[in-house]
């Protein structure tokens, strides 16, 4: 006998709501369980968000990455200017700054404190320099490298240098951290499965009589499983909401100190908080964990009571 779709849907809504109602009848234990889940989920979520912020910070440093082109000693000022104009029109280059031989010399004098020694040299030993700022390409992390290779082939260029080593190292470190967060998230996800599985196991024990009677009047396994699956779903979802709350509060507390620190470094850096997609991922993921955890428990603890 097939059940009509409308009745089926009503039935699901009823069972879902009554599962929620049952949780609300024992508010203290529900709060404790969901808070445990919330804290467990808040940890990886918070770490992930921290990592995202570090990467944004690195991104803002990357913007200041420059390529220095030390031109041939005999390059005339006019040639230097032409090259600079050509490069400015090229795709993938944001800005080109020209430092003529004289300007370089003056700057060196001013900053190095070797002005007297330089007087003794007589001739200007410094080549003209072009400082290029590569355009930022998120889709191509090696963009600056490729640009560097290309610059090396220009006939006017003697030496081209890109100081990006530390940015790469930083990327490598954040990559390791990302893996670490993934590992922690998996472990804590398993912990959530166990917490929910155990909670559902206790619920099954408490409702033994009801389950047996329901079975006796001809309930299918799906019918008996359904309220427990909804319980698990709610536990997961509420736990996810608590995790959201915890992470939001933690980052709200960090916001002011971080902005003060950024101001000390004359940086515009602002803390990234949870956006809609992260919130949806957290809530959806926690609901799925809840459903799966209770499914594991239900299939383990409800199957034993039937003759086969």
């Amino acid at each position: 006998m097939r059940i009509k779709p409308k009745i089926w849907l009503t039935r699901h809504i009823q069972v879902g709501l009554s599962a929620l109602g049952r949780l609300s009848r024992t508010p203290l234990s529900t709060l404790m369980t969901t808070t445990v889940i919330g804290i467990t989920l808040a940890l990886p979520t918070g770490l992930y968000l921290l990592l995202t912020n570090l990467q944004h910070l690195a991104g803002s440093w990357e913007r200041t990455t420059t390529i220095s082109l030390f031109l041939q000693m005999n390059t005339a000022d006019q040639q230097t200017g032409q090259l600079a104009r050509r490069l400015r029109q090229r795709d993938g280059i944001d800005r080109v700054e020209v430092i003529s031989r004289n300007a370089a010399m003056q700057e060196f004098r001013r900053l190095s404190g070797f002005s007297e020694a330089l007087e003794a040299l007589g001739d200007n030993p410094l080549p003209p320099v072009l400082v290029i700022q590569p355009g930022l390409r998120f889709d191509d992390p090696d963009h600056a490298e490729k640009l560097l290779e290309e610059m090396r082939t220009l006939p006017e260029v003697d030496i081209a240098r890109l100081d990006m080593q530390w940015v790469k190292r930083f990327h490598a470190i954040t990559e390791i951290a990302r893996r670490g967060v993934l590992v922690i998230a998996s472990l804590l996800g398993m912990a959530v499965l166990l917490v929910i599985g155990n909670t559902i196991r206790l619920e099954i024990q408490n409702r033994r009589a009801e389950i047996e009677v329901t079975r006796l009047v001809g309930a299918t396994n799906a019918f008996i499983r359904r309220p427990f699956l909804y319980s698990g779903l709610w536990y997961g979802l509420l736990g996810g909401a608590i995790a959201w709350l915890l992470v939001s509060v933690a980052f709200w507390l960090l916001q002011n100190p971080v902005e003060r620190l950024a101001a000390l470094y004359h940086s515009q850096f602002g803390l990234t908080t949870m956006d809609a997609s992260l919130i949806l991922t957290l809530l959806g993921g926690s609901a799925l964990l809840g459903l799966f955890g209770s499914w594991l428990s239900v299939s383990r603890h409800l199957s034993g009571s039937e003759p086969d």
């Binding site: 009677v213 329901t214 009047v217 003759p307």
Partner: protein, 227 residues
Amino acid sequence: MIQFENVGKRYPGGHEGVRNLSFHIEPGEMVFLTGHSGAGKSTLLKLVLLLERCTRGQVRVNGRNLARLRPRQIPYHRRDVGMVFQNHRLLSDRTVFDNVALSLVVRGLGRQEIGRRVRAALDKVGLLELERSYPLTLSGGEQQRVGIARAVVSRPPVVLADEPTGNLDPELSREVMALFEQFNQVGVTLLIATHDLDLISRMGRRILTLQNGNLDRDSAALVRDAD
């Protein structure tokens, strides 16, 4: 309607619930099952409801060979067999209405249909005005009638009862039996396990007597022999 052929049930550990049972209950019969405690009455009812599977022989209910049913088909078999328990097995956190409705809810019936049928069943057992009460506020006789309403509300062709009058005084016991007779009159096949020999001997129905897991006496056979 209920057919046992050389049925035996041996539990793990060697205890034998029933040893070698053969009998046949026709559609529309009302049959009592009696015998000492441990004679195998409960095991027999469990075999019919498929709470246990027999280890020997064959049980057929409503034309179905129960040995052939897969686990996923068992619920549908149970919907054809209403069950009344000695201790009622009502859910104390639900109203009388909801307890009776359970049999229909598991079938996926709509709300209106459920309301109509539950009220009809409660009316039949005389408890319509108590539909909003909780089982623990009712007397033993009333609780048993709620249990009966739950067993018959889905109009199953077969109803089993395990000591339905076990906790009731003679007056209430007679009322409950009268109720079963009413259901029998509309064609329900009944198999009632009971100790209450006094009561059933006056009802003139077929009686199966079990002893040590065997059929000791079948009153229908005696009648046939007398003929």
